[in-house]
Structure formats: C-alpha cells, structure tokens
C-alpha cells in the first residue's frame, strides 16, 4: 500500500463530511431544515450503493487501481462543483410545500436527490475500493477514513464563519482534488489530467463567481423582499446560519395587537436567519413609557407587577427585552444562543448597558447560574396561525418539564414565568404550555396550581403567567381591567366563570375551555390519553414540544380533515416518516436489489450479513442519540454535533487502527460485542443522570467529560467493522465484502431517520437500549464460521 493512500482517504472523507454539512446549510436556506435528514440519507445511500457498484465492478476497478482510485476522487471533486453550478434546479427545482400538491415537484425532488447522491457515490466507491484492495491494512485505512471525517466536521466549524454557503463547496472540492492528485502515479495522464484541470477550473470559477442560491418563494425572507423598497442591509455567515438584516418601509410586527390600538408600529428592520423570520429590531428606549406590546397579551406580567430583574430567554432580536425596558426593569439579562445575531444587534442598536445585557448562550444552561428573577420571559411559541409542525423534530429543551422546574427555582418570591402562545386550531400549543406549567407548579410544592396560573386571550395570542405566589384578588382586578381596555378575554385565574371568558373574542365552541379546565383538574390524564394530538408535557428525554402528531390518530385525522389536508396540519414529523419510507425504498432499490442479481458467494451467509446490518444500525443509533443528548449539556446543537461526531469518528478510527492487533480470534470478537452491549446498557439510563450532575462546569470540562464518555465506547465500536471485514477477506476471495459494505450502508441509511422516529415516540433511552440490542445480535452473529479466522 502506498504511504500516501491513508492521507488521500483522510482528505476525501473530510471533504465528504464537510460537503454534507454545507448541503444541510444550503437546503436550510433554500428550503427548510427538514432536509437535513435527506442529506444524511443521501450520503449514506451513496456509501451503500458504492458497495453494490464494487460487487459488480470489483475486478475491473481493482485491475486498474492506479487510475480508478485517483479518478474516482477527482470525479468527486468535479461532481461537488457540478452541484454548485446546478444550484438552481438542484436546490430550487422543488418546493417543500408544493411537494404535496404538484407531482412535478416530487419528480424535481427525486432529481435533486439523485444529483446530490453522485459525489457521495464516487467518493464512497473510492474508499470501499481501497478497503477491498488493501483489506489486510483496513485498520489504518478505516482510521484515516474516520479521523478524516472527524477533521471535516471540525473544519466546517471554522469555515462556516469565514465563507458563504455558495463559496464553501469550492473550498471543500479542493479536498478530494488534493486526495486524487496525491495518489496519482502519473499513469493515464490524459483522463486524470483532464479531470484535474476541469476540477481546478470549476473551483476557481465558482469561487470568484459563486452562483446565486435559490430561495423558496414561500420563505419569510423571499416574501419580505417583494415589499417595495426592501433591501438587505447586512449579511453574516456563521455556523448558526445565514443572518440577514432587511429594511423595508412596509415592515411592521406587532403580534396579536389589540384592535383598540390606534398608534403606529415602529418596525422597519427585521433579522432573518436562513431566510426564516428571526425577529424585528425595535429601539431600546429607556425614556419611553409606553410600548406597542402594551396593547398585546404580552403585557400581562407588567399589568400585574413592576419587575426589577428580568430574564429573557431565547431573546431573539430583543423585542421582549425592549418591552421590559419600557417598564423600568433595572436589570434585564437577555440570553440568545445565536452569537452572530447578538453581535449584529450590538452593531446596529444602542443597547443601554446599565439595564440591559445580551449574552450569547444556551438559555437552559444559563438557568444554572445563581441569580434570581422577578420575571422570566419566554419566546413566543408557535407561529401565526399554527406552526404546522415545522419545528416538530427540533429539540426544544427550553420547554420541557425539567426546564420549567429549573425556571421555577430561579424565581424570586414575587417572581413570574410568562409565555405567549399563538393560537392554533385545533388547539395544541396552548394546551401543552398550560400542561407544562401545571407540572412545574406541582414540582415546586404548590398545593393547587390553579391558584398560581393566570392567562389572557386576544384574537390570536394567549399569554400564560405562572406566579410563585398565589394570584390575589388585586391581580384579578388588574387582569379584568386590562382585558376590558384592550378588548381581550381572561382565560384563567382562580374563580374565573364561563361568562367572563368570551366577551370580545368568540370561539366556535366550548371545547377549548373544557380542555383547559381538564388540564387543571383531576381529568388531566384522561385528556392527555384521549386528545387527538400529543399535548402531554415534553421532557428532557423527549424534548419535542412542537411534535403534536399521534400516529394512532392518523385515520381519524384523515376522516376529519380529508387525506389531502393532513400533511399540512403537522408537516414536520410526516416529512420524517416520508423520508424514512423513501430511504428504505431507495436502499432496497439501489443497494439490495442489484445484488440480488449477483450470487452471494458461499453458504450460510445470513449471520455475517445480519452482523453488518446490526452494527450499521447500532452505530448510527448511538451516534444520533449522543448528539441529541449532548446538545443540552454542551449548550448548542453545533457544539454537540461537532464534539460527538469528531469524538466518535476519531476514537472509532483509533479502535479500527488497533483492531488488527487486538481482535485476533472469535472469542475476543464476541467479548468485544458484549463489552459494547454492557456500555450501552449502562449509558441508556446513566447518561441523562451523568449529564444532569455535571452541568455547572465550564465548557472545556464539559468537552473533556463528553470525550470521556465517548472514547471507550467509540473505540470498541470502531473495531467491529474492520474486524468483520478482515475475517470475511478469507472467505471466497472476499466476495462477501461488497455485500457487507452495502448492507452496512443500507442499515446506516435507514437508521438515521429511524432513530429520530423512535426518539419521538419512545424517548432517547429507548433508542440507546435498541442500539445495545443490535450489538447483542451482532455478538451472537460472531458465532458464525465466517468469523472464525482473522487476517492479521
């Protein structure tokens, strides 16, 4: 084996991981972030299908390895650039919303899927080919592959701050280009040189003339830019996304404004992140005594009290902070995880530092600091007219039962938590928010939560208050007065009557009020069980506040809304289910089916094939769940993804590199599987506990702890695949290797989406238990005679 080959493989792998991350970012801008799953599955499908290609073309490609290996790497570089230049049809040829309406969009989506699949197919074929040719040294190659992938993830953390999504593919395409050229021995000068030159030309052209990335016409930003005089004033790229500051004379934002308001709404500038609404820029005026939000339900906490210290969590562009400032709060801490947004805010706004401070951090982590607050303001929940499950699969740790309990502890004796929810129909967000508040109050040793919760309702929003002390008669008088003045309706306070709830804003029936009363009464559990949407409070183990869809109620949904309307009720989770079905079918069509036409060599092949299916599933399940669980601990999905991916890949790579020395017989192989099962079985219940106890330490310590958890597990897991391959190499001239590669790839593809479905339905620990079960199955499979001898 050439010494340069591991370097080449490392460069190629880093390019492929980096390209996945860029594609996720581009699709988040062009469409919506649901497509992150599509990219993972496309990439994994590329790996799976490469196994199929190798099983057919093994002899041909190995025979001309001097040309095929560098050629495939250069082709990866060229195809990455090809995708960039085809950005229009690839990223803008379909529209997420229209996919359910127009067949044309569905075909265009399939076209994009196919085009995006090409670089992963060529890259993975190069990697798989090197495994076959140099099967004896797979440990080193696998190490290079995994550490390269880890480096690719880390590299992107740097590149996202310095390059726009349209120029990033040019930077990334240099990696497979370098990999190919490094490996080129000078043979096949014309085709290799032609591909190399083509890649260089495309990279230079793309870098200096980046194509304009298409953006869905239905995104907030696209529609805002249609307003007369709309201009993008500023743009910043960061790992958090593409942030734009847009100015337009017609831009106004006053959520759920009272119909009695006759003043002006002073919004002219708005921030958009990845084309989605992020928040309006409203002046931080210390001299103003009135705010337009005083004419909205957001004003409720200020009607009841004049809070001295205010914590605004997930503060966005600071709208709620500006409101608190107008009410004379002496100390306002605004926590916003998007650092780029905080920086943009400080660049463009005058922030009165004495009273107001923005801190870039994860709100949930900030709640661990020692301060106490008179008011904790939560960001608005849902969106105007319902969020249609757009955020269904996003972990929202801020809205879990545990988070509310934490907030409750941070309240001063007069403190309140305030949350404003957009009304949706049928009601979901509001009921879940109330259910969460009731549980938080109960966990705070409150005798009767009803005495601590108040809410008012406008034509479009509801603001809930959870008060540390009991709601007093004076509070009720103030609420009634406020509601009458703004023509809102009181929804909740101790002793509220049915008649009081509907003076100005009439609902179609009483079911909403009945559900509200059920949540506060003994029939709470019955309601959770019988309601057609998931309204039970979210937990840290299932932190999907915006996931309301219940699979067991799908047939009723179809009956009530009509089959064609169901996708638009809770689109987020359905997209994941559709993706799962689609990738399962694609894995079968592109990976399994072609191999059916090729005879599987040898007899009793079931065990080795089940082995590779099991470790593919188990590895992906573990990886995805670790990323999700470390998100809360490390403070941001980005840190979690980078740390877990890099850690998993690096230590798995180390395990792979040493597997040749350590796994030399079947007994050791089986012991390895048992060790992994035991570790996963300990982590399933133990990890949440571990992460809860170590939350108050610094980020560096947290990262170290993260690595301490990941390292032994990933090290052992990394040995499984290469050990299995080394063993198969001795049977039927390695004829089972492409099959193993393909089966492993297929199950990894399916597991990416399946892990999330299981997490939504059963919680994170369940996914970890299933991962343990798959490694147990793999352990049993090591009894197969295929794993009796190992190449050393």
């Amino acid at each position: 084996m050439k010494r340069r080959l591991p370097f080449s493989i490392g460069l190629l792998s880093s390019g492929m991981v980096a390209f996945q991350l860029v594609l996720m970012q581009i699709l988040s801008i062009s469409q919506w972030n649901h497509f992150a799953y599509m990219i993972i599955s496309v990439a994994m499908l590329g790996f799976g299908a490469s196994g199929t290609i190798l099983s057919f073309l093994k002899k041909y490609l190995t025979g001309m390895k001097e040309k095929s290996l560098p050629g495939l790497m250069l082709l990866t570089s060229v195809s990455i650039m090809g995708i960039l230049f085809m950005a229009g049809p690839v990223f803008g040829g379909f529209d997420a919303y229209l996919v359910f309406y127009e067949k044309k969009n569905l075909w265009n989506l399939a076209f994009s899927y196919f085009i995006l699949f090409i670089p992963f197919l060529t890259g993975a074929t190069a990697i798989g080919l090197s495994y076959i040719i140099y099967a004896k040294e797979i440990g080193k190659l696998y190490f290079a592959d995994l550490t390269g992938s880890a480096a690719g993830g880390l590299l992107m953390l740097f590149l996202f701050w310095h390059f726009s999504p349209s120029t990033l593919p040019c930077v990334i395409a240099c990696l497979p280009l370098a990999a190919g050229l490094l490996l080129w021995s000078g043979k096949a000068k014309v085709p290799i040189a032609a591909m190399g030159i083509m890649a260089v030309i495309l990279i230079i052209t793309g870098f200096f003339n980046p194509p304009v990335l298409p953006v869905s016409q239905y995104k907030n930003l696209s529609r805002t830019l249609l307003l007369p005089g709309a201009l993008v004033e500023e743009k910043t790229d960061s790992p958090y996304g593409e942030l734009k500051r847009v100015r337009a004379p017609g831009l106004r934002y006053a959520p759920g404004l009272s119909l009695t308001y006759s003043g002006t709404v002073p919004v002219r500038e708005v921030l958009f992140n990845n084309g989605n609404w992020f928040g309006p820029l409203v002046p931080f005026d210390t001299t103003a005594t009135e705010h337009f939000l005083d004419y909205s339900t957001y004003a409720l906490p200020f009607v009841l009290d004049k809070p001295g210290t205010v914590l605004v969590v997930d503060a966005g562009s600071g709208l709620l902070a500006s409101h608190a400032l107008t009410h004379g709060a002496g100390k306002i801490i605004a926590i916003e995880p998007n650092r780029a947004a905080v920086e943009m805010l400080y660049r463009n706004m005058t922030v009165p530092g004495k009273q107001l401070r923005f801190i870039p951090a994860l709100s949930r982590n900030y709640l661990l600091t020692g301060d106490q607050y008179d008011l904790i303001l939560l960001p608005e929940i849902g969106s105007f007219g319902g969020n249609s499950g757009i955020r269904a699969l996003e972990e929202q740790y801020l809205f879990t039962r545990e988070s509310f309990s934490q907030m409750w502890k941070k309240l001063s004796s007069r403190g309140m938590i305030a949350a404003t929810v957009w009304m949706d129909h049928p009601p979901r967000n509001s009921l879940k928010m109330l259910a969460t508040m009731v549980q938080a109050a109960a966990s705070g040793d409150v005798t009767d939560p009803r005495d601590h919760i108040a809410a008012v309702r406008s034509w479009s929003t509801i603001t809930f208050i959870l008060k540390k002390s009991s709601i007093t008669k004076e509070d009720i008088r103030k609420i009634r007065e406020f509601c009458f003045f703004c023509q809102f309706d009181p929804l909740l306070y101790p002793g509220i009557t049915r008649e009081e709830r509907e003076n100005f804003n009439i609902l179609q029936d009483d079911s909403f009020f009945s559900a509200i009363d059920c949540i506060l009464g003994p029939e709470q559990e019955t309601l959770y069980r019988e309601y057609d949407f998931q309204i039970r409070p979210a937990t840290d183990a299932k932190p999907f506040f915006s996931q309301f869809l219940r699979l067991d109620r799908m047939s009723k949904m179809k009956e009530v809304f009509g089959a064609s309307s169901v996708p638009f009720l809770e689109v987020g989770y359905l997209i994941l289910l559709v993706t799962l079905a689609q990738i399962t079918l694609a894995a079968f069509l592109f990976i399994i089916l072609p191999l059916v036409f090729k005879k599987v060599p040898g007899r009793k092949r079931t065990f080795p094939l089940v082995f590779f299916a099991a470790i593919g599933t188990g590895y992906m399940f573990t990886e995805i769940i670790l990323i999700r669980q470390f998100t809360l601990y490390l403070g941001h999905p980005l840190y979690a993804a980078s740390a877990v991916l890099s850690g998993m890949l690096f230590f798995s790579g180390a395990g792979a590199a040493l597997s040749g020395r350590l796994i030399t017989n079947r007994k050791r192989f089986a012991t390895l599987a048992v060790c992994i099962v035991l570790m996963l079985a300990i982590l399933a219940p133990g990890l949440p506990f571990l992460l809860r106890t170590g939350t108050s330490v610094s980020l560096i310590i947290k990262l170290i702890l993260c690595m301490v958890v990941i390292a032994p597990l990933a090290f052992l897991m990394g040995m499984m695949f290469p050990s299995g391959i080394r063993s198969l190499a001795l049977h039927h001239e390695g004829g089972l290797i492409p099959w193993a590669w393909a089966i492993n790839g297929s199950f990894s593809v399916i597991s990416t989406a399946l892990a999330t479905v299981i997490a939504v339905e059963a919680g994170y620990p369940a996914v970890m238990w299933i991962a343990a079960a798959t490694y147990l199955i793999a352990g049993i499979c090591t009894r197969s005679r295929h794993f009796s001898i190992f190449v050393t």
Partner: protein
C-alpha cells in the same frame, strides 16, 4: 395502425381543433359545477349571492395556463411571488361571512390573482382591491379588465393604510394573513361593518377570524371552516 393512418389522424385532429376547444370549456363548466357541489355546498355554504357569484366566475382564467386543469381542485394554487389563489372553499366562506349586498363598498387587501375581487364584483357595486406586489397587481388589473370587470379598482400599494379617501367600507376582506390587524383598517370599517381575515399558512387548512364593529365595540369571532370539527368532543357549534 400504419404510418399513413397515423398522419391522417393527426391532420384531422389539427383541423378539428377549434371544434374540440368548446368541449374543453364545457369541461371547465362541469368542473366548476363539481366544485360547487362537492366543495362549497356540501360543506354548508348557503349564502345565495355567494353561490351565484362562484358559479359565474371562471376560476381557471385566474391561474397560470399550466395549472388550469387543476383550477377547480380543493386546494390553493401557486400564482408566483410566494402567493396563492385561495382554495375555492375559503373564497366562498370568506365571501359569505361578510354577507355582501348590492350597493356595498368593499375593500380587499391582497389582490393576488384577482379571483376574490371578481367573486365580490358579481355581488356588489364597487370593489377596491390593494396589492403590494407590483407585478401581481399589474397582471390582475390586466386580467380583470380583459374579463370585463369594470366595478373593480386595483390599487398597487401598501394595504396597511387602506384607502382613507374611499372609507368607510361596508366590509373589508384581508386575503393575506397578517400577525396583526392594521389599525387604519379598523378605522375605515363602517359602523356595523365586517372584516374577515384568514389565520394560518396558505398551504395549511386555514380558519378565519370575523371582526365586527358595533357601537364602538370591536369583537372577533373565530370561524373555523366547516371541515374543522371540535376534537374529542361532540360537535357543538355556536350560532
């Protein structure tokens, strides 16, 4: 079939094309009838003038040629610039909610394709419609002129301020959902007037808010489309 007979077939089809076209118009008429029966009447719309107007307006002329075959489907359809022509039922329901009568002066915010304005124009004497996207406003103006709607005035501008010069209005239809109802529009609503505003994304099943102004008191009524029935409880609609 040999090549000669195929060619003859194509020639005949080409020659008979003008005769085939009226058959397609009849198809649209049939589709419109189906739409009325299956989407509008069956869901409980009984407002007579709304039904008459919806029967008359040729919806397929308000969408792109490539989408004409789907113009009467139970869906919104894209018209470009991030806008849609609303689902037929939503148009019928919004129209019936404001209960327009001959002689009424109606303001529409968000012209889009002009379809809602055309439906209203069959019932009332004057319809003012404001569109903020210049291109959409221009194409709607042209379309409505060509179709002979001379009681519709399309204004290209910011609907937020309404039309103070033409106020008060008997009814206001806001077709573009907004997270707040502009105060100037409330002011321009006649005493006893009605305003209807959709809530929800254009691609979701929308529900509607009816705003009424009576004796200085402004009330809203959440008017869920009939296909929304209360969940977990028996149907118990209010008047």
């Amino acid at each position: 079939m040999n090549i000669l007979s195929r060619i003859t077939g194509f020639i005949l089809l080409f020659l008979l094309w003008p005769a085939v076209r009226p058959a397609m118009s009849q198809d649209y008429a049939r589709m419109r009838n189906d739409m009325m029966r299956d989407q509008i009447i069956s869901r409980g719309i009984t407002h007579r003038s709304t039904l008459q107007a919806m029967r008359k307006v040729e919806r397929h002329l308000f969408v792109d040629k490539s989408l004409r075959s789907r113009a009467y489907d139970d869906n919104p359809l894209p018209i470009g610039y991030g806008q849609t022509i609303s689902q037929p039922f939503i148009v019928a329901y919004m129209t019936s909610l404001i209960d327009p009568r001959a002689g009424d002066k109606i303001l529409e915010i968000g012209t889009g394709s002009g379809y809602q304005a055309a439906v209203l124009a069959h019932i009332t004497d004057s319809v003012y419609t404001i569109e903020i996207v210049k291109e959409l406003g221009q194409s709607a103006t042209k379309r409505l002129e060509e179709l002979g709607y001379n009681n519709i005035r399309v204004i290209i501008g910011d609907g937020y301020y309404g039309l103070p010069g033409q106020a008060p209005f008997d009814a206001i239809v806001v077709t573009a959902a907004a997270e707040h109802i502009p105060p100037p529009l409330i002011e321009q609503l006649r005493e006893g007037g009605k305003m209807v505003i959709p809530v929800g994304s254009q691609f979701m099943v929308q529900n509607l808010i009816l705003v009424e102004k009576k004796k200085g008191r402004i009330t809203t009524r959440n008017m869920m489309p009939v296909r929304f029935v209360p969940f977990t409880r028996k149907e118990n609609p209010k008047d």
